[in-house]
């Protein structure tokens, strides 16, 4: 058991290392061009947002339609903290995520006590309020024209693309690792129990409201990180970041990838981000293509492409080993049989 633990940690560590550093190197060496690098890195941010939605919708079992609101709060906070207060960028990213989490707490506190679709309605309204406030507070937020935020990630053409990828996918990997541990912790198990059956969880002494809150605040924290990474990477933000359409985009990643599946939503975020760029030649029809896929998935595979399952690297490696072992055994058997037959023939 113990050696398996080390082996499994080593496998995952190696995969994480490869996923973060190999593309960084390739981008730096211009094997992957800047345009593709930009798309992949954007996919990383979308994957973080997809995780944020997944924590609310897939893991906590609530529906949020305003997750982009937290992204916008994270993005604007990071700019204001860095530009107006002169706090160094990495510190203000953490602070921005905390601010987003605080807003999550404020929104969740009154609404998570309610049942049904109310959280969906309130988060929807929340996203819109954030957008209206961002548009109208021209002095602070720059109004509808948005705000510039030149950083090394967005303006430096030598190091920018590689560094952006390194930072964003590095953070993504860190979030995935922490999230996996979180789901398996006491808190995570309690949250899953609430998702499966609120009444049963409640009668087993799990405080439904408290664990919904934990899930929702964690999700808004992750959403804030997404925004805090988005602003320095793109170098320019607009109030539209908080719009309903943006929230829906994030939700689509999760729905297509599979509610509750971390690997599924991350994979869907990368694939769909690339697909959006790839389908640009369709122009206006591109926007039509997207909802049609969504309806088809809902009709024919309502649980999403992966459902609640995870793609497990360890299990797939074990599977490959298993297949190899079986093949080897078959070959041995076949060899033995052949040997028997030739022996038999020789005797005759």
């Amino acid at each position: 058991m113990k050696n398996k633990f080390y082996r499994n940690t080593a496998i995952l560590g190696a995969i994480a290392f490869v996923a973060v550093f190999v593309p960084t190197l390739l981008i730096k060496l211009d094997v992957i061009n800047a345009y593709t690098a930009q798309i992949i890195t954007l996919g990383g941010i979308n994957a973080i947002m997809a995780l944020s939605v997944n924590i609310v919708c897939g893991i906590t079992g609530q529906l949020s339609l305003g997750q982009a609101g937290f992204e916008a709060i994270g993005a604007y906070s990071v700019i204001l903290l860095t530009q107006n207060l002169g706090i160094p960028l990495p510190v203000s990213m953490v602070l921005a995520a905390l601010i987003a989490a605080f807003f999550g707490f404020l929104i969740g506190f009154p609404t998570l006590k309610l049942e049904g679709d109310y959280l969906a309605i309130v988060t929807l309204a929340f996203g819109e309020i954030i957008r209206v406030v961002l548009v109208n507070q021209k002095g602070i937020t720059g109004g509808p024209n948005g705000k510039q935020f030149p950083t090394i990630l967005s303006t430096d053409f030598v190091w920018g693309p590689a560094l952006s990828y390194l930072v964003i996918v590095g953070v993504l990997v860190a979030i995935i690792i922490l999230l996996q541990n979180f789901i398996r912790s006491t808190y995570g198990r309690a949250i899953l129990a609430v998702r499966e059956d609120e009444i049963a969880a409640n009668s087993n002494g799990v405080s439904v409201f408290r664990y919904k809150m934990v899930g929702f605040v964690v999700a808004s924290f992750v959403g804030g990180i997404g925004g805090a990474l988005y602003a320095p990477f793109i170098g320019f933000i607009k109030p539209d970041l908080a719009s309903f359409n943006n929230s829906i985009n994030d939700l689509i990643f999760v729905v297509l990838g599979g509610m509750g599946s971390v690997t599924g939503s991350v994979l869907a975020a990368f694939v769909l981000t690339y697909l959006q760029e790839f389908l640009r030649f369709l122009q206006n029809y591109r926007l039509l293509f997207y909802p049609v896929i969504l309806i088809l998935v809902m009709l024919f595979r309502p649980q999403g492409l992966l459902g609640m399952k995870e793609l497990s690297f360890i299990r797939s490696i074990e599977l490959v080993q298993h297949i190899k072992r079986v093949r080897a055994m078959q070959r041995e058997k076949a060899g033995a049989k052949q040997a028997n037959e030739t022996e038999g023939a020789a005797e005759k």
Binding site: E115, V133, N284, Y285, I295, M298, P302
Partner: protein, 299 residues
């Protein structure tokens, strides 16, 4: 003009905006009452209605006859459209988890918007909606335009008709039965699928009328015009108690008045935010809305 006169004037503006919200909110609330689905595509059905009215008005002209024809065309168009949407998108998911129907509704919304954007004779650009020339009528200290009068009177008539259908006809009785208990209604021999389809159609017919009225009052239409009034109408439905028909009418009017009052006395920029703030406050104070009933979950 003195203060009272301005106040009454704003009240009438609010009433006219509010009755449009109420018309659209009725569709949300009826559908939610029966299938527990937030029909996000509803605002866009309204948009399609506005376009139907636009094409008729362009062809016939803005005479009273043209207006009547535009209303009829919009209502028929929206009714048929919702029949198709219900049959193709919502009915196959009737027994699926609610989240799936909700996401389908969002997808239908996006499809409607983007189909309109792609259609060659519609296109993404905003268009000027042909309206009747505005005439001001004044009674005592208040004056209102003929358009406001049409909006208020027509919405009132439609709501009375709806009230009659729901409360005094056999179909209305069946609708109430299905919304009370879907399973039991179906055991009593009510064709649930038919009643749900009828509910969708009635809601969308009202939205079609609401679309033409909205476009008459704010004469500019584009493929995403349904989003904001749709959202506001939804807020109105929640405000009145989602699932309750008188609640939706009341919520719509309250919201319309609150919004115009904010525009007049507080700040015109935050009028949108006010309606969402109202929503959050009402959910905090009385989550079931003004006329909603409280339900208890039993194991």
């Amino acid at each position: 003009m003195n203060g009272i006169s301005i106040f009454v004037q704003q009240l009438i503006n609010g009433l006219s905006l509010g009755s449009i919200y109420a018309l659209i909110a009725l569709g949300y609330t009826m559908v939610y009452g029966i299938v527990k689905l937030i029909n996000f595509a509803h605002g866009d059905v309204m948009m399609v209605g506005a376009y139907a009215g636009y094409f008729v008005l362009c062809a016939v002209g803005t005479t009273p006859f043209g207006m009547t024809l535009a209303f009829l065309a919009a209502m028929v168009m929206c009714g048929l459209l919702s029949l198709v949407i219900e049959r193709l998108a919502y009915r196959p998911l009737r027994n699926a988890p609610r989240l799936n129907s909700l996401i389908t509704a969002i997808a239908v919304e996006l499809i409607l918007q983007n189909v309109m954007r792609v259609l060659p004779f519609v296109g993404p650009d905003p268009r000027q909606f042909p309206t009747m020339p505005t005439k001001m009528l004044s009674i005592g200290i208040v004056s209102f335009s003929n358009i406001q009068l049409i909006v208020i009177v027509l919405s009132a008539v439609l709501m009375v008709v709806l009230n009659y259908i729901v409360n005094y006809t056999k179909t209305g009785k069946a609708m109430r039965a299905v919304s009370y208990d879907l399973g039991a209604a179906s055991l009593m021999g009510i064709s649930v699928n038919r009643i749900i389809a009828i509910t969708f159609v009635i809601g969308s017919v009202l939205a079609g009328a609401g679309g033409v009225l909205y476009a008459t009052a704010y004469p500019q239409i584009d493929p995403v015009m349904g989003y904001i009034p749709g959202l506001k109408a939804f807020v109105a439905a929640v405000l009145g108690g989602i699932g309750s028909i008188p609640g939706a009418m009341m919520g719509g009017v309250i919201l319309g008045i609150a919004e115009t009052m904010t525009k007049a006395y507080v700040s015109s920029q935050y009028a949108d935010a006010i309606s969402y703030m109202i929503l959050i406050v009402i959910l905090l104070v009385k989550p079931t809305g003004i006329l909603g009933k409280k339900t208890h979950v039993k194991v």
